[in-house]
Symmetry: C2
Subunit: 184 residues, 2 copies
DNA sequence: TAGCACATGTAACTCGTTACATGATTTG
DNA sequence: CAAATCATGTAACGAGTTACATGTGCTA
């Protein structure tokens, strides 16, 4: 019974062996689009996964002041991951700082409201551009959109597609909000 | 400097005085659509807001085994809330359990994948229906969509509109995903 | 008369962030 | 030679969840 973070790490290791450092970079991108964790959380979690026999490690040549460890998912780890993926779940409780501010937007003047929404709009535009670059990279590598659902490439593509859809919808909402702030 | 939760509570109290119990119900709905908190977090936070002079309370007649306290936002509380709303912020780190599962969906068979995505689709449909009911209630009460940005009603409407847009986009993605799982 | 809504609070725990700690190799 | 990257770990703190605790009045 790995934690959610544990399953995120298993999901990365199922795609190939990696060091803790590499895992923490991948937790920023691409996993960071839907889950985050810092290295101070990752190293203890890797130790816990190893205690449970879901991953194993070997010490390899490296450049840090400590040993460099390459982790690999075990057969038990693969089973645990697949079991977790197919498990019924409760959606994560939403935490949207921006919407919380919008809920109280009536307490500030128009100029401050515009600034807040315009800032969000810019962020969404930047994120859309980033996702489009990622998608283009996948399509170049695979000669078009991946269509085979049981490949990692297809899952990368599917999550990116969802991210794009989310960001575009969020940007449209900002546009609507800005016109509402102009009128009124 | 109230915490995010503190500002959520100030946002509710800016709309009118309420007891801790009422606040914890409103944190489920409508605030729960974008932020959550349990009563065990709310009561200590109200005490902290009161220490900082952002809210005050009076004991009123009530039915529980303890005193019933009605909280009211202070002038300092209103200023703190407006200041927080207009403050630059970092978007909350995303936590999307479902997308994390999708990232590893290639590790399970088609049937399990379909079940996962179909479950999510049903949830989104239910949430859309709930939001539509809420929106209808607002439109009946105000005789159409609120257009005046410096009213609580408009902010309720704006957050609902965002929620609807999010859920519809999510449902469409599920539909796309299901067709991809059929082919392949 | 059983269960729910009201009504508030504390305790133990887990999850997650920020800061501290160390030090080699590569790049500008 | 300064800064970034590689590379791992611990400590202190804050945020959030679950369980414990108490007791009334209303409704089915």
């Amino acid at each position: 019974m790995a934690s959610t973070l544990g399953n995120a790490l298993l999901g990365l290791l199922a795609r190939g062996p990696q060091t803790g450092y590499e895992l923490s970079r991948r937790m920023k991108r691409p996993i960071g689009y839907f889950w985050t964790a810092s290295h101070s959380q990752i190293y203890p979690e890797l130790a816990a996964l190893e205690r449970d026999g879901l991953v194993s490690h070997r010490v390899i040549a490296g450049r840090g002041p400590r040993d460099t460890k390459r982790y690999r998912i075990t057969a038990a780890g693969r089973r645990a991951l697949a079991g977790w993926v197919a498990t019924a779940y409760e959606p994560s409780p939403p935490k949207d700082d921006f919407m919380l501010r919008v809920y109280s937007l009536w307490t500030v003047d128009r100029a401050a409201a515009r600034t807040l929404v315009e800032g969000a709009r810019v962020r969404h535009e930047e994120t859309i551009a980033e996702y489009l670059r990622q998608r283009a990279a996948i399509e170049v590598e695979y000669g078009g959109p991946p269509t085979e659902p049981d490949t990692p490439a297809f899952c990368d593509y599917a999550t990116l597609r969802r991210g794009l859809s989310y960001e575009r919808q969020a940007k449209s909402w900002c546009d609507w909000m800005l016109t509402a702030l102009d009128g009124g």
